[in-house]
Amino acid sequence: MAHLADPADISPRQVANKSDKKALRDAIRMTLGVQSAAIRHNTQTFNRNRYAATSRLADYNQLKDRARQIKEDAIAHLPELLRQLEASVRANGGHFYLAKTAAEADQYIRDVLLRHQVRLVVKGKSITSEETRLNHALEAAGVTVAETDLAEFILQVADEQPSHIVAPALHYSRERITALFKRKFTTDLPLDTGEELTKFAREKLRQQFIAADAGISGANLIAADSGSLMLVESEGNIRMTTTLPPLHIAIAGIEKVVPSRTDFGTFIELLPRSGTGQPLTSYVSILHPPLKAPSFAAPGKTARPREFHMVLIDNGRGHMREDPVLREALYCIRCSACLNSCANFETVGGHAFGGETYSGGIGGSWEAGTGKLLNARFSELCSGCLRCLPQCPVRIDVPWLNENLRQRINFEQPASAAKSAFGARTGSAPEDRVAPLQKQFFANYDAIARSAMRFPWLANAAMHLPFARSLMESVVGLDRRRRLRPFPRKTWEQVYRGQNGRAPTAESAAPRMLMLADVFTNYGSPERGMAAMRVLREVGVDVGLGPALPDGRSAISQGMIETARQKANAMAQALLPYIDQGIAICVLEPSVLAMLRLDYAHLLDPTTWARFRRGNFLEPMQAVWSVAQEQRLDLARIFPADRSQFGIRVFCHSQCQQRTCEAAGETLSVLAAAGFDVATSSVECCGMAGSFGYKREYYELSMAVGEDLFAQIRAAEQDGPRILVASGTSCHEQLWAGMGRDVLHPAELLLSTLG
């Protein structure tokens, strides 16, 4: 094995650009080794606070709809809005400059500062200025830049890129800041607490505020009708930056423009709550500069008249606007909810799950849009768990953007005869056959399982040869540390037909509910499928097993969108006759349920989707719970928990996509009603997320993500063991890997009560 550098010796800057795969691997090692504890603590605090703060907004969903509408309209009318904004800023007495590139923006700002003979500029946090590398340009021109946001101050001292779009230094623990400051500054102060560190930085920066000739801020939003800025912060440094010096320059991307100051009313409710989870941050400034109030005159100086420049940058945004996928990213208000609700991000942060400027789920689109496509390679860390979906205040489907980036990166790969032949044999769409072997392997799990199931004994024997595992690891990147479950002797379909005859058709003897033979259960665990059907019948649901068809989940997660589209279309054609008749479709595997309910919106043509979405797709425990509610069934009598050989103490982990589909709560309700003592997890994702955790390059990350879940289980078992229950196939494998125990599907647990 090649010699690997100590994680502590890898500098964040060195691995900021991840167009090369090795940088991504090194970045994951560095962040797991050095930064992970601080990132977890900080992002998970934001995450908890966001859930609490948004739940207190009575009209949260309407606000999100409104925010989405405002952003869609703004981006649609951007050229007109920019003209209107320019007129507003000039009418206020300010200057307006629209920069096509980052370099143009930097040059304009530098020229303004040099014209005013500015030696020292104080700066509020602006990620856009990180994008343009403004500090570098100014310092090269002899202007001293004082970053005054404490996080940016840390980054400036450490020379690192931001790791988070709202809290750029959240990868630093207090201890690491102390060590950094002691290394970089000579001081007698102890610097051993947050208070001492803050005091040290405050006193240093207070001198700069007083002495500064100019202030540079960003902007969270800009109103075209009045030239107003909305500036969100908690430290007070942005208020200082915009209030004290006579010269104020605001730099922002053109996408920050909304039509009217009245629109701020929507975003002021959503942005702080979605970001740090505060109802409001300490300060939200609403300004249309230049301010009328006089500027600060430092002792011994006279106050100078105010001057304001608004510098907006395009730097690729115009192209993003023309791009049907990247256009979505222009709606982003940079709240960071998609970062904080992402289990992978919570574990490694933006120095691994991020590029030179932007990070997290939405960051890939920004890096690709303002830089090069391959800079978005880190968006591979989006496992498609969908937890960010309900969190986005402007309803951006972030996983879909990342699947598209993955597709584009796949398409940049050179074609090869081997990939092409493998793809043709396993069912990749012709366009997708340039994708790496690993991606085509995981994308076409159904075809691979189907051929293995012709001779399951042979496949099982072969799979367990040590040589086979190392071959699989080197050819398709399937990590050898992962258990591969043996293929069953018979598929779910075969077991079911053996007992019940042919699959029901929509026309004849249609049952009230159709169970989809999803590929994961069909080829992986037919016993779970049979258990679910038995449980449904036990509460009186007439359920029959439907077709065994791939749904496209495994393909879409590899960015093989055309392959996924083919599978989605075949699935839709097979299910539409049932849907049209109002027959409910029950789906055991939550990732497939999410596919049918959510992802197909992107994959089916609009007419088919309009028909398809009328379907009643539900998870088996949802079906049990709704029948029990309707018919007032006593579940404790039907499934008496105390009769289960597993005992009544349960730990139930809800699968990520199941939660996003709002199809998880019923499982907990059913188990509790049956008399089980149910403990549950609060993690966003177990870390396996389909094929993600099986991949050699992500195994360590996946297990590190799982550690939060394993810790919650250990805590819930302090007073005695619990049987592990989960609905997702990949959660089962992750729990097995972390806890070394088998896991039951909730239906199997209920079945155990039937005697």
């Binding site: 900080n42 005054t148 946001d149 404490l150 996080a151 840390i154 809290a167 230094a169 959240l170 630093y172 623990s173 207090r174 201890e175 800041i177 947050g194 208070e195 560190l197 803050t198 930085a201 405050r202 920066l205 207070r206 505020f209 007083i210 009045s226 908690s234 430290e235 007070g236 440094n237 208020r239 200082m240 209030t243 004290l244 100051r261 009245t262 629109d263 009313g265 929507t266 002021i268 409710e269 505060q278 109802p279 409001l280 941050t281 300490s282 300060y283 939200v284 400034s285 609403i286 300004l287 249309h288 301010l291 009328k292 109030a293 006089p294 600060f296 005159a297 430092a298 002792p299 100086k301």
Partner: protein, 181 residues
């Protein structure tokens, strides 16, 4: 609800939210004496107090306070950056978040509300609105929120950038709000 009762419950909601945001809130009668007492009690033995005269509330209300020898309505730059407390009016407040809205376009109001470790804001009870979004409506408070340069101030300045949550960063370390009945 009767308007008066609705305003009462807004004051209660405001007080609870501001307290949650680690501000202190005090109700005071609308008289020069009562206001002066309330402010002086809040600033304690501060040797120097910055003061930005009001534009909404009658200046007369602040007359007794302004006569205190420690008060500086026209501070030197040294006094501006070296005083213990800063007193301004707020032209509005927000019940759901416990915020006060400080106009920063008049003379030194922005700096006085920002530079001293203790910030005191005086707000009239009838200018408390239910939610932040109300400041962006033309039919609330005469549309002032759509015209002015102002800051929503919610609690003292704070940061978590140095590890634990620390109150008192570049802005005030404490915020005291006086609501005029």
């Amino acid at each position: 609800m009767q308007p008066a009762i609705a305003q009462m419950s807004l004051i209660e909601e405001f007080t609870a939210a501001a307290t949650q945001a680690v501000a202190s809130v005090q109700l005071a009668d609308r008289s020069p004496r009562a206001l002066c007492n309330a402010i002086l009690q809040a600033v304690g033995d501060a040797p120097r107090i910055l003061y930005a005269p009001p534009h909404e509330l009658p200046a007369e209300l602040f007359s007794e306070f302004a006569a205190d020898p420690r008060v500086r309505a026209n501070p030197t730059p040294e006094e501006m950056v070296g005083s213990a407390a800063g007193v301004t009016e707020a032209f509005a407040a927000v019940a759901s978040t416990g915020s006060v809205c400080i106009d920063v376009s008049f003379e030194r109001t922005g700096m006085v509300s920002l530079l001293a470790p203790l910030q005191v804001a005086v707000v009239a009870a009838e200018t408390i609105v239910p939610q932040p979004r109300d400041l962006f409506r033309a039919d609330v408070l005469g549309g002032r929120g759509l015209e002015r340069d102002f800051a929503f101030v919610t609690g003292p300045s704070a940061t978590a950038d140095m590890g634990p949550l620390v109150r008192g960063v570049h802005g005030p370390h404490r915020l005291h709000i006086i609501v005029l009945r």
